[in-house]
């Protein structure tokens, strides 16, 4: 895949920013904040993965978290020690409680399974017009949730799946986030990404100049699913305990709000949105629990976090529908500034 040097530099700078933050957190932060940062990185990878499909094809995608869930559960089922599985998954099918795989092998298999599912769903997806496609993604999320909730022998159903080896480290998460950002930028600024973005603006014009819209949409769909799968596996191997609720509406709302606030057409926007919304959500969580602020006892307000996310989405759409960054990437902003300094008139 050919990628412009400027785009690559932009992606690397963005990734380095994450890496520096990661290094600081790893070196100096308290365990609680390390956990928080790790969750932030998983969300970041997920938002970037979501951007790959939503930002380039302009089809709202509510099913991305479903891919995370599939990958997370496959990883958990394969990597959890037999000693735990013998009691937790006593009646598991396929004899999955008789063996355990190393986390790395488990992750690779989890990604393959997720991609296989994404392939099947994708076949249907690329034939749909925008609205029907979006509803299909939502239905997909519900399917994944229903299956995980009801296949009790394999997934423990609504109960928590515990005992997964917590092998993931901040270093791994930073490296993955870095990779995801570069991958997303590489796709966005490749010939294919450009063609897909063009087709989302004008289907007729794009296909008139020979853009293979369905193929490109399918490619974006698969790449997005791949990144989501990695995020899901990473999350599982860090927290060690997962439940179906971890991969349902809460996470969907959160990641969508992040992407929309930052600007879904831009990878930089995805990262910016993720940072701002994470800060906002942590503040809301604090207020939600009814803390005493400046000597005043605030009431407990369960639901504040969700309210905040809804507000972020509605206000973004009302005042800045293309998000904070619009279609600008970090290097676009620099480039324009440099041109302006050189006295060139830029719009």
């Amino acid at each position: 895949m050919m990628i412009e040097r400027r785009a690559l530099v932009g992606a690397v700078v963005l990734g380095l920013g994450i890496a520096v933050a990661g290094f600081l957190v790893w070196g100096f932060a308290a365990p609680y904040h390390q956990r928080l940062f790790f969750t932030f990185l998983v969300n970041l990878i997920a938002v970037v993965g979501l951007q790959v499909f939503m930002g380039n094809s302009d089809i709202t995608h509510f099913g991305h978290v479903g891919f995370m869930g599939i990958s997370a559960y496959v990883t958990a089922i394969l990597a959890t020690p037999v000693a735990v599985k013998r009691s937790a998954l006593a009646s598991a099918p396929f004899g999955v409680n008789t063996f355990e795989l190393s986390p790395l092998v488990a992750v690779v298999l989890a990604i393959l399974v997720t991609l296989a599912v994404a392939f099947l769903v994708g076949l249907m997806m690329v034939r749909q017009a925008g609205v029907a496609a979006t509803i299909a993604t939502l239905a997909f999320l519900v399917i994944v949730h229903v299956v995980v909730m009801n296949w009790v022998d394999l997934t423990r159903g609504p109960r928590a799946f515990y005992g997964i080896p917590p092998k993931a480290t901040i270093g791994w998460a930073v490296a993955t986030a870095f990779g995801a950002i570069v991958l997303a930028r590489a796709f966005r600024d490749s010939k294919w990404g450009l063609q897909l973005r063009a087709s989302s603006e004008d289907v007729a014009a794009a296909s008139a100049v020979g853009v293979p819209i369905r193929k490109l949409r399918f490619a974006a769909w698969m790449l997005s699913a791949f990144i989501m799968a990695v995020a899901g596996a990473l999350f599982t191997l860090f927290v060690g305990t997962i439940s179906p609720k971890s991969f349902y509406f809460d996470l969907t709302f959160l990641t969508i709000a992040m992407l929309i606030l930052g600007g879904m057409h831009s990878v930089t926007g995805a990262v910016v949105g993720c940072v701002i919304v994470t800060a906002g959500v942590e503040t809301m969580r604090f207020l939600e629990s009814g803390p005493a602020v400046a000597g005043m006892q605030l009431p407990e307000m369960f639901g504040l976090t969700g309210f905040f996310l809804g507000l972020v989405i509605v206000l973004s759409m009302a005042f800045r529908p293309s998000g904070l960054l619009g279609s600008d990437e970090i290097d676009d902003i620099w480039h324009r500034r440099r041109l302006r300094k050189a006295g060139v008139e830029v719009s």
């Binding site: 034939r127 029907a132 509803i135 239905a139 519900v142 399917i143 969700g306 809804g310 509605v314 009302a318």
Partner: protein
């Protein structure tokens, strides 16, 4: 035979509920291109309005609650249109859809903050929860009413759309809004009417959803409306007859699944149905009555 009759009544009433909701979605979509993800929260709102009137004003007679339910949903739909959806009118479909999605999250969480997670019970009319016995078949009254009300509502809607000026304007707007405006019809009125109708249909659905559940909680609107969305997609998104057909197909499919699936697999019902819908869309991407999505290719 009796079993068959009972199950087809089940399918009809469930399908009717989906049809009412899917019609509301389709009307708004056809007139202003908005995919209203907040449709389900209108049901929730109606439920809370009934609960508040019952609990707050001490109105114990459930018959008085029925108009409260329907009317509050109509007003709420028109309120949402003015406050939330007017700013994004004419914006790309994604913007409108995400706005509605955000509004939906807002409503759910406002309910969560002020009323709490726990379900609140709403009194229902006694006769709705009774069964009637016809011959040797026992049928819940609510099912008969639901089927009848759906049929009447759809008939009224057809008359409204075919015979009244504003109805004709709405049908025309579904094809070409700008021409309708050039004819001197005010877009505001057309859109407000569309929302009022969609609210009215959702209000009727609210009554029946509550009669079945007996209680209201912040997330109760999600599942029925997801089903309605799927029904609309089956029928062909934006097509009004398609919405009705899709609703009935989905209702029948759901009841059939319930009959066919063994007890241990019952939980997977929705997964099977949605997968089947996915396969249907693979073969016929435009749904039953929709127009084929245009990728600018030769077909």
């Amino acid at each position: 035979m009796e079993y068959l009759l009972q199950q087809s009544m089940n399918a009809l009433s469930l399908g009717g509920e989906y049809a009412l909701l899917a019609l509301g979605l389709a009307i708004v979509f056809s007139v202003m291109g908005l995919v209203n993800f907040a449709h389900g929260d209108m049901i929730t709102f109606g439920g809370y309005a009934m609960f508040l009137v019952a609990a707050g004003m001490g109105i114990a007679n459930p018959a008085l609650l029925l108009p409260v339910g329907v009317l509050s949903v109509v007003l709420f739909a028109m309120f949402l249109e003015k406050v939330a959806f007017k700013p994004v009118r004419g914006a790309p479909p994604t913007t409108g859809m995400l706005t509605a999605f955000g509004v939906s999250i807002l409503i759910q969480n406002v309910a969560l903050i002020f009323v709490g997670t726990r379900a609140k019970s709403v009194p229902t009319m006694d006769f709705l929860i009774q069964n009637v016995t016809i011959g040797s078949v026992r049928i819940p009254v609510v099912q008969i009413f639901e089927t009848a009300v759906t049929v009447i509502a759809i008939a009224l809607l057809v008359v409204f759309l075919k015979r009244t000026t504003i109805g004709m304007a709405m049908r025309a707007a579904a094809r070409d809004v700008s021409t309708v405006r050039l004819m001197g019809v005010r877009a505001d009125r057309v859109i407000a009417t569309a929302f009022a109708i969609s609210g009215f249909l959702a209000g009727l659905a609210t009554i029946f959803v509550l009669a079945r559940r007996g209680a209201v909680d912040p997330f109760m609107g999600f599942t029925p409306v997801l089903k309605a969305f799927v029904a609309a997609v089956i029928g062909g998104f934006g097509s009004l007859p398609g919405a009705v057909i899709g609703g009935l197909v989905l209702g029948v499919a759901e009841v059939m699944m319930q009959v066919v699936l063994p007890e241990s697999m019952a939980g997977f019902r929705d997964a099977f149905i949605f997968t089947a819908v996915g396969v249907l869309l693979l073969v016929r991407p435009q749904g039953i009555l929709g127009e084929r999505p245009d990728f600018g290719e030769k077909s």
